[in-house]
């Protein structure tokens, strides 16, 4: 099973990606995660820089690790780059499996690794100027729980 991995400037559609799974009778559970820009005021923006080439490679590697760990019928990871306004979509992770536990866990696993290993960097553009967003210790902790098991 091949994962769908896309890194793009343009917006994505949860509905379109979900519809790709229509009619499949082997899928019992689908989990979708959407991460969005929050806490920005109108006129402010989030800018996402990335490392072209490594980004796709890192995301594909994370999806592959998830597929080896859980029985998944489908995996889709889409991450946007460039400038995004308040409430805009940043990332979509879609996982499908026979049972819900695999779909939930694989989805959270992919997000935890994406947050700590995929080469994206956020910068906030506000009235106070542009500022790089700091990495969060809690993201590193979230990833480590998968390594203990």
């Amino acid at each position: 099973m091949q994962a769908v991995i896309r890194v793009q400037q343009r917006d994505f559609s949860l509905a379109e990606e979900y519809d790709c799974l229509a009619g499949r009778t082997d899928i019992g559970a689908i989990v979708a995660f959407v991460g969005r820009v929050r806490d920005l005021a109108p006129g402010e923006a989030l800018e996402l820089e990335h490392y072209p080439g490594m980004t796709e490679k890192a995301l594909a590697g994370i999806a592959e690790a998830a597929q080896q760990r859980w029985p998944l019928q489908a995996v889709t990871v889409i991450h946007r780059v460039g400038k995004l306004g308040p409430a805009e979509q940043i990332v979509l992770v879609l996982t499908a499996s026979t049972h819900r536990a695999a779909a939930y866990e694989a989805n959270a696993f992919i997000m935890d690794y994406l947050k700590t290993e995929a080469p994206f960097w956020k910068r906030e553009h506000t009235a106070q100027g542009a500022q790089w967003v700091d990495a969060r210790e809690s993201d590193e902790t979230a990833k480590l729980r998968w390594e203990k098991q």
């Binding site: 991460g35 820089e49 991450h79 947050k115 700590t116 995929a118 080469p119 960097w121 990495a135």
Partner: protein
């Protein structure tokens, strides 16, 4: 002689005012730790960012690399802050 490409991203790209450079490494600069020490010895912002006070990550040929990882001939090495995507 090992000539490699080094890429800088995000805060480091701005601090160094450099996105990419080609460098020929001295023979003793054979792994990530040695490369970082060699770059930090440039002084100024290089020392500030790579001298040990700030956290950064290194990738070799687009895979995350540890500080003891060897640097293959002609490698693409990237140095960047901890990632903040998602």
């Amino acid at each position: 002689m090992n000539t490699i490409k080094i890429l800088y991203f995000a805060r480091l790209r701005e601090a160094f005012a450099c996105a990419e450079e080609n460098v020929t490494l001295p023979a003793e600069v054979h792994n990530v730790a040695a490369l970082i020490g060699w770059l930090a010895a440039r002084g100024g912002v290089w020392t500030d960012e790579l001298g040990g006070k700030r956290v950064f990550r290194v990738a070799i040929n687009q895979d995350m690399a540890r500080f003891d990882a060897p640097i293959p001939p002609g490698a693409e090495v990237a140095i960047f802050p901890p990632v903040t995507g998602g």
